[in-house]
């Protein structure tokens, strides 16, 4: 890049001045905690972006600090001056991606994941089958066949172990695109299925649709929907991420719905920020705004519809690992806890530090496996003091990571990781009116 002004624009140099370097973000940052240096803190990263933008350091000096950021955004929640860290981080990632200065193993790993395994626009239909196939043959074997393990230590076997059993391709094909509640419908919602959720956690998606239906909603699954683009954006593939956003906006405009519901904290965080991808005042910005206004997490919608009654006691001690993106980007904090509170018999014991990331962070745990495990081990130390029978999460990445954590602690006999939706289904939910009529 020859033009320093162009570099400063791409790196969001102006936004770095919002940081007054007070350091209040340090205690909130998981990588500062585990990597033990300022270079891997939000304040250090913002400063490095500034140094590169001022020509005092090279882009390659910025590579590692940016690669090692989880993007959990915990810093933005505690920042007293409202620094737009997300924009600074994405600007840095995009600049680095454009300059292709990634360390070789990480580049290879990402190429593999994005090229063969993770989302592309035509991927939603295929991936279900792909995931099924991967499980059948073994992820590690697939990676080995591609001679990837020799250049990038992917540790895919660790993930393979904790993946749930997949439904057959046929089962997927027969899923209805629209379901109605038994009684009169109180809302019309569109369900955003998500890639990882719909492939790896297909059954949780089924349960999500059922919960919405029981709560009184008509649920549609727009066929043309695609990946949310979060993983692309986190890897600096901004252009691709914007394309995916446009496809989704189009897909969800087809029918007038009250809410666009998702059950993956990371996807939801991307969906609610679609408007940031387009220039203010443009047509696409207006369309994105109309879209984001309707985006809600499943927990928010269930609380708002208030149409469920839980008929079975779940006599378990659980703890809750909130999704960082749900807390720090979507700002959804209370609804999951309100729902758990409604489940009879359930005892929620909070972690000492629930807002500390679990280390999953999109594909961070695949491309930065060791660093991710350091963070996970801190999380599991906290979990161990609480001694729950289940860890409840609200995002597929966190769910997988917590399963790996349980595996690492060899605690599988007395502890499991579940999605909030699975937990709610365990409590035998019924539609509210129905139950009251039975009581009568």
């Amino acid at each position: 890049m020859s033009n320093i002004q162009e570099l400063q624009r791409k790196l969001n140099y102006d936004k770095t001045f919002d940081c007054v370097q007070c350091g209040y973000c340090l205690p909130a940052c998981p990588t500062y905690e585990t990597m033990e240096k300022e270079t891997h803190s939000p304040r250090g990263r913002i400063n490095m972006v500034k140094m590169v933008a001022e020509g005092k350091a090279d882009l390659e000096d910025l590579q590692e600090p940016i690669d090692k950021c989880l993007g959990c955004m915990a810093c933005t929640t505690v920042c007293p001056t409202g620094v737009e860290y997300g924009a600074i981080l994405e600007g840095a990632k995009e600049t680095l991606e454009d300059n292709q200065q990634k360390s070789k193993p990480q580049q290879k790993a990402e190429d593999f994941l994005f090229g063969t395994f993770f989302p592309s626009s035509s991927w939603m239909n295929r991936l279900g089958n792909a995931a099924w196939l991967y499980q059948a043959t073994g992820l590690q074997k697939a990676a080995q066949a591609l001679k990837l393990t020799t250049v990038a230590p992917l540790h895919l076997d660790k993930f393979e172990k904790v993946l749930p059993k997949q439904p057959s391709p046929n089962e997927r094909k027969n899923r209805p695109q629209r379901v109605f509640p038994d009684g009169p419908s109180t809302a019309k919602v569109a369900f955003f299925t998500g890639c990882v959720m719909d492939s790896t956690f297909y059954r949780i998606n089924e349960q999500t649709i059922e919960l919405l239906r029981l709560a009184g909603a008509e649920v549609i699954l727009p066929e043309a929907q695609t990946c949310c683009g979060a993983l692309h954006a986190h890897s600096g593939k901004t252009k691709k991420s914007r394309e995916l956003a446009m496809e989704n906006i189009k897909a969800f405009e087809q029918e007038d719905v009250d809410f666009i519901v998702n059950n993956a904290g990371g996807c939801g965080a991307r969906l609610v920020e679609y408007d940031h991808l387009f220039e203010s005042g443009s047509d696409w910005h207006a369309r994105a705004k109309a879209f984001t206004n309707k985006v809600k997490d499943i927990s928010e919608v269930l609380v708002e519809l208030d149409g469920l009654e839980f008929t079975k006691s779940v006599n378990r001690v659980i703890t809750y690992q909130p999704s960082c993106h749900m807390t720090n980007v979507q700002k959804v904090v209370a609804p999951p806890r309100q729902l758990m509170d409604q489940v009879p018999g359930l005892q929620l014991k909070e972690l000492n530090n629930p807002d500390f990331c679990c280390g999953s962070a999109g594909i961070y745990n695949i491309v930065n496996y060791e660093d991710s495990m350091d963070i996970l081990d801190r999380k599991m130390e906290d979990v161990t003091t609480v001694q729950p029978e289940a860890i409840v999460t609200t995002n597929p990445g966190c769910l997988l990571q917590m399963k790996i954590g349980i595996e690492r602690e060899k605690a599988g006999k007395h502890m499991e990781a579940v999605h909030l939706v699975e937990l709610l289904m365990e409590a035998a939910p019924t539609s509210k009116e129905k139950t009251t009529s039975i009581k009568r």
Binding site: F17, D18, V20, Q21, C22, G23, Y24, L26, P27, E36, K37, E38, T39, S41, R43, G44, N47, M48, M51, K56, A57, D61, L62, E64, P65, P80, T81, G82
Partner: protein, 467 residues
Amino acid sequence: MEKWKEALTTFIPKQQIFTELADRYSYSFDGSFGEFLPDAVVQVKTKGEVIHLLKVANRYRVPVTPRGQGTCLSGGPLPVKGGIVLDMSQWPATIEVIPDDLIAVVSPSVLTAEINKAAEEHGLMYPPDPSSAHVSTIGGNLAENSGGPRGLKYGVTKDYVIGLELVTPEGEVINTGGRTIKNVTGYDLTKIIVGSEGTLGVITRATLKLVPKPLAVQTLMAVFNDVEQAGKAISKTLTSGIVPSKMEFMDQACTIAVENYKPSGLPVDAAAVLIIELDGHPSAIQEEAEAIEHIMVELGAVNIKVPKDEEEAANIWHARKQVSPAIAKIKPTKVSEDATVPRSKIPAMIERLEEIKEKYQVELVVFGHIGDGNLHPNILCDKRDNEEMERVELAVGEIFQAAIDLGGTLSGEHGIGTMKAPFMEQELGEVGLEMTKRMKDSWDPNGIMNPNKIFPEKGQKLVLRNE
């Protein structure tokens, strides 16, 4: 590799020594101004490592700048002369509370707020409460002699330190003070070290004094249409036998900024808002609260708010906390000062600040711990605008002059560092500064410890511009 770097590695693990550019830049700044690239960053985790490092640095004449979490507002951890940034933050944190002696023995890396938390488990309190207490280390607080809102009743960090372990610039270990409240043996080396900003050695352990935790607190908010009246109300309160734990002030510019940033129910048309906190026995503070209410009304308060519960009180303090971020929205660069005057001179100081604001046409707002005369005049500016920064430099110089003229001091709680060093002679006098310098030179004969702090170089001036 330079010889001194090689010499470090004979005792300090390599993974604790950083020389990559990204790491060096990450320790080149603090919460104040300027950026200075060190040659290396070294994390120490034991006393032995500190001893080794200082012996090496002293032998090779390498500057050493100790650093906690880099929240300093006066430039203490800036490696102005390069050399080594000594990162103390990764030292294992230990707090030992000894309730029978009302003391705590802590390691230098402990976060200040954690000390108070540990003390509270025993019904005790560690009073110094800088607003960064949840981030800053006690080592940094000791070096800078930090204060906080509770300074009005409880004083600053130095009032709670009774013993220190220090590694001298030549790599020797000394223990000062002890574990007793009374101790008049010899020179009070403890108090010389506290506030010495890392120029006399490296603190490796501290013994702190604790006090019983007050049983209750009560907040009040008083609104004035005239700043002078507010000043008089403060004086009257403090001479009526009541010592509130906190007495905070916000001028109109601050309340407007807060209401624009995060509406918190502050009166934007008032000239001054006072927020007062009383602590002590519940029945005592109830009487005191009533007495203060009378004083405030008598001296012209147009509105008084006495929160009915903790939540209402928390809302008032939340509004106060919003001042710093809110004013940062006025302009991106914040020059935050902590000049302090005798309490009776508060109205005069506020008047001087108003004149300075007019004279240099700067965005100057005033808030702070008014009960102890420790105001925080803040100038909001843009460091990319050289012409503006020149005016800011002149305005800051006059703020210091005003404080000294009124019998006050350059710093109430942030420390001197680099920015205030050029003004030291004005406050201490030529001989006063020279005697301080002699002390420094005898402790640190080769001048390796945190050079260019506290003491100005010949002809040094305040510079806030990028050259």
